[in-house]
């Protein structure tokens, strides 16, 4: 086992446990904090996959901004005991069905992945930093890039309008 493998197993374990924490916590604040841990674990996986920039974007956008947004929203809508904010659905069949579908899906996907012959590339390339990404984003994908920027702007406007509500005149 190389160092790389150990790091992957540790990161994947932490991430999956944290993801389970997100789903299974009864306190939604704990869920949100586990979510931060999941994001950080995924960022670690990105670093391991030689995608440093994407990992840092993940940390900055997800762990630094989105999770804070979620926690703020939680604090705005919380009005019961903290320990009962994140319960499962009341009806057991729903939970059972959800669990069944999820396990089936994960197992099916895993099986499909394991038995697929992937067209692996023989070339090994290290972390290329931002130059390649910049070339892609401002070259062939410049339209998508601009559309994404506009999407963000529209989303910000929409979020502010929705959250602020219509004032009574």
């Amino acid at each position: 086992m190389s160092l790389n493998d150990i790091v992957f197993i540790a990161l994947a374990g932490i991430t999956l446990l944290a993801a389970l924490g997100v789903v299974l916590s009864r306190n939604i604040i704990h869920s949100a904090l586990f979510l931060v841990l999941t994001f950080l674990g995924v960022a670690g996986i990105y670093f391991q996959l030689n995608a440093g920039f994407v990992g840092l974007v993940q940390i900055m956008v997800y762990a630094g901004a989105i999770s804070v947004l979620i926690i703020f929203a939680i604090m705005l809508v919380m009005d019961v005991e903290p320990d009962q904010t994140n319960l499962f659905n009341q009806s057991t069949p729903t939970i059972m069905a959800g669990g069944y579908v999820s396990v089936l899906l994960a197992a099916g996907l895993a099986g499909a992945i394991w038995f697929t012959k992937w067209p692996l590339s023989a070339v090994q390339v290290g972390d290329q930093g931002v130059e390649k990404l910049a070339g892609m984003l401002l070259g062939p994908y410049v339209v998508s890039f601009e559309v994404a920027a506009i999407l963000l702007l529209v989303a910000v406007f929409g979020a502010i309008l929705l959250a602020k509500g219509v004032e009574d005149k």
């Binding site: 995608a51 994407v54 997800y62 809508v77 899906l105 994960a106 996907l109 990404l133």
Partner: protein
């Protein structure tokens, strides 16, 4: 030896956990968080395939960045919607949002 398949299986497990959350949680914000888990799982796929299948093209990283952007927009609007609904119904329980007309 860890290879592409391990990364993808890890991603599919994460996706499954997220899906379970989406299907079985009562709190709307918890469902949103589970959706984020699923989006992250998908992103891992892009980045892993970039490394093992198409190294050096930057394609997977680019798409991963777009996914992150869309996820950020989605969370912002989704949370605003939840807050807006909460203001009317005083609840974030998804079982209470069963009306077809406002």
């Amino acid at each position: 030896m860890i290879g592409l398949a391990h990364y993808l299986i890890f991603a599919s497990l994460l996706f499954g956990i997220g899906m379970f959350g989406v299907l079985s949680k009562r709190n709307a914000i918890a469902v949103l968080m589970s959706v984020e888990l699923m989006l992250n799982a998908v992103n891992i796929n892009f980045v892993a395939i970039e490394k093992f299948v198409t190294p050096g093209t930057g394609l997977g990283h680019t798409i991963a960045l777009f996914v992150i952007v869309v996820a950020a927009a989605e969370v912002a609007v989704g949370l605003a919607l939840i807050i807006s609904i909460y203001r009317h119904k005083k609840s974030v329980n998804l079982n209470d949002f069963n009306l077809l007309k406002w």
